[in-house]
């Protein structure tokens, strides 16, 4: 907050810009203003509303408010420009790009395998989905989709569904916090922590795992994984019932969400909105069912939908989806059979053999001994595959999977080289955010928060 320090002057003396001058001249926060075609535009940086505008100001009803980019309820660095009359929002405009890091461009200067490390950082609440969608694209380009080992595919589904729950839990936690339901925040992050522990056990990292690689997985499940996940499967349904008991019937929660931010199915499709928002509008469009991948057609689960198309319906759909994901995780555990987790083709399969050593995770000593001591060819092969990478036949593919936020699509182009020619991420948050004006215009300022939260955008994916 910067108080204006310019010398007092009248607006008639400087018609183009100046400082609003209270009649008594005592304000420490004088609003600067500029004259524009639409009228006088004030830029307010702090202070008491009445002091700023003065009592006699007539066109004070139309106010433009910047919400963000650092507002805590904007899910990252999202900026909302609201035009309000009183408490009613007449126009919502979104400004994005604050988190643009050029992930797509960076991928063009790394090998096909290294690109995973960038892309996992796009949507940081569902990194494994980024990895899976990208790897499915590369595998389709390579023509090895059918050669991916069964165990690798099952583990991919397993970790993705665990992450769907954790992503929905973050949505519950942050969304609840934005509405003042801090218990929802505590509950959501508490259970998410358990899932992060599981993912850390499996992949070694809590986030940005780079676990799914073209051709399979970085490594197999460690010992004790199944037991840990089964314990979680016993615990989690109780927790979901707890959320229902805490929130589903709660009057304040319902008052903030029921019949708020309605967008019907036709509006969703026109705006490209997919995922829980579309399913809450009554259309059971879930790519796991409608265009299956990774063998989802062989799992038994339901696609929860609702008809109300409001924020509360989206809440219910997400809560139900957590339960369905638990079902899939359980089926994955039952299906796990011993076997390889990387494609057999040694010209594609990542050559590292990871194991836990005295100083942490690294290449296994047996593997090092083999390539350094006994097989010159293995050493050359390892070196070439890691530094040069493998070649991918030219062409382009588009692969879409159902991420926690909707359709996550990867448009990947190869020119026949060892690096991607182009990787485009169709991020569901990016597309779904376009619906925020339709959700919020005509509503109240407080409902803007609910609207943004109900879309569940992750700005890392939006801006990439």
């Amino acid at each position: 907050m910067t108080p204006s320090t310019s010398a007092p002057h009248t607006s008639t003396a400087q018609p183009t810009n100046g400082t609003a001058q209270p009649t008594d001249g005592s304000s420490a926060y004088e609003a600067g203003f500029t004259e524009s075609a639409a009228g006088r535009v004030y830029t307010v940086t702090g202070g008491d509303w009445e002091e700023i505008l003065g009592a006699g100001e007539q066109d004070a009803e139309r106010i433009v408010v910047n919400m963000g980019p650092q507002h805590p309820s904007t899910h990252g660095v999202l900026r909302l420009v609201l035009e309000i009359e009183g408490e009613t929002v007449t126009e919502t405009r979104l400004v994005i790009g604050y988190l643009h890091t050029g992930i797509e461009k960076s991928c063009e200067y790394r090998t096909w395998t290294q690109a995973v490390t960038f892309l996992t950082r796009a949507d940081y609440l569902s990194p494994l989905y980024n990895e899976a969608a990208y790897c499915l694209s590369v595998e389709k380009l390579l023509g090895i989709t059918d050669d991916i080992p069964e165990r690798a595919t099952v583990i991919r589904v397993l970790v993705m569904e665990l992450q769907r729950i954790s992503s929905h839990l973050v949505w519950l936690a942050t969304g609840g916090m934005e509405l003042g339901a801090t218990t929802a925040m505590i509950f959501g992050f508490r259970e998410r922590e358990k899932i992060l522990d599981l993912l850390e056990l499996i992949t070694g990292l809590r986030m940005n795992h780079a676990f799914i690689r073209p051709g399979g997985l970085a490594q197999d499940l460690p010992d004790g994984t199944e037991r840990a996940i089964r314990e979680f499967l016993v615990d989690m349904p109780k927790r979901i019932r707890e959320y229902h008991r805490l929130l589903t019937g709660q009057p304040i929660w319902k008052a903030r969400m029921v019949d708020v931010n309605v967008l019907d199915a036709a509006g969703c499709i026109a705006l490209g909105v997919t995922g829980p928002v579309l399913r809450a509008a009554g259309l059971p469009w879930d790519l796991r069912k409608t265009m299956p991948y990774c063998g989802y057609e062989t799992y038994e689960f339901d696609v929860p939908t609702a008809l109300e198309a409001d924020s509360f319906a989206r809440y219910l759909v997400r809560l139900e989806e957590m339960g369905e994901s638990l079902k899939i995780v359980e089926q994955c555990l039952d299906r796990l059979r011993p076997g390889p987790v990387m494609v057999a083709d040694k010209k594609i399969a990542w050559p590292a053999q990871l194991s836990i050593g005295a100083d942490g995770m690294g290449n296994s000593l047996a593997h090092i001994r083999n390539i350094m001591g006994t097989s010159m060819e293995a050493l050359i092969h390892h070196f070439k595959l890691v530094t040069e990478g493998f070649r991918v036949p030219p062409g382009q593919v588009y692969t879409q999977i159902e991420s926690p936020r909707g359709e996550l699509g990867y448009h990947v182009v190869s020119d026949g080289g060892t690096r991607p020619f182009r990787v485009h991420v169709r991020d569901p948050s990016f597309v779904n955010l376009q619906a925020v004006p339709a959700l919020t215009e005509g509503g109240q300022v407080a409902d803007v928060i609910v609207g943004v939260a109900s879309v569940d955008p992750v700005l890392g994916g939006v801006d990439r």
């Binding site: 994005i96 790009g97 643009h100 050029g102 797509e104 461009k105 960076s106 200067y109 090998t111 389709k140 380009l141 023509g143 499709i269 026109a270 705006l271 490209g272 909105v273 997919t274 259309l283 469009w285 409608t290 265009m291 530094t387 040069e388 990478g389 070649r391 036949p393 030219p394 062409g395 382009q396 593919v397 588009y398 879409q400 359709e407 699509g409 448009h411 182009v413 020119d415 026949g416 080289g417 060892t418 690096r419 020619f421 182009r422 485009h424 169709r426 990016f430 597309v431 955010l433 376009q434 801006d463 990439r464």
Partner: protein, 259 residues
Amino acid sequence: MTPPDGGSLDESGATANGSGELVDGGNPDGGNPDGGNPYGGNGVRPGRRHDAFGSGGTGDTSGFGRLVAPAPVLAASERPFGDSDADAVYDALERVFPQLGDAVERAVVDRGELTLHVRRESLPALAQTLRDDPGLRFELLSSLSGVDYPDDITGRRLHSVVHLTSMTYRRRLRLEVSVADADPTLPSLTSVWPTADWHEREAYDLFGIVYTGHPGLTRIMMPDDWIGHPQRKDYPLGGIPVDYKGATVPPPDERRSYS
């Protein structure tokens, strides 16, 4: 699929990052936008992909050889495509869109995905038909992305690629429109699929493709006053200064590479 073949030494040898003139024919500033099929029958588009291991003939494996391998392009597929979804879409389109032969330069079926290379004048009418016809019903525009092919033999280096999803028939379709750098305009799809709004702004911002008829074509990722379009292949990249004797890590496109 035609593998890269027949590499030759780059005569100019001045650039190692793939930017430069076309090898034969074609005006990089937009020649031949409406001519016949410039791709010939063999399906290989002459190009200028600097390449070490992928080009044959010289044995240079250093990565610094500045060898040039032709960038292959996929040739038009013959009807019937042999892919049930692709044939169904094309048959339905032929029935209801009589100008299809003029509108579509090439139809390519590759890895089970149908790509229609569409002339930009025909895009709005074709898009409207694809969305509204009961036999097609591509209700959802899933994705729109730009791709920069600096070596496109037609000189139309900027490609706007649209991925459509038919939720009714559960099919996908790719439309690809290419425009030249000198005249990078094509009709906006926002009137057919409103969701194209932000996608087209992104393609404009990062590739400089101008969508006429878009309600507000402004930058979306980069700051408003940014100069240039960063995802073009010839966009200058920065190096990284190192705090030791004034050294720098070279920009990514000037580093040693094997691609």
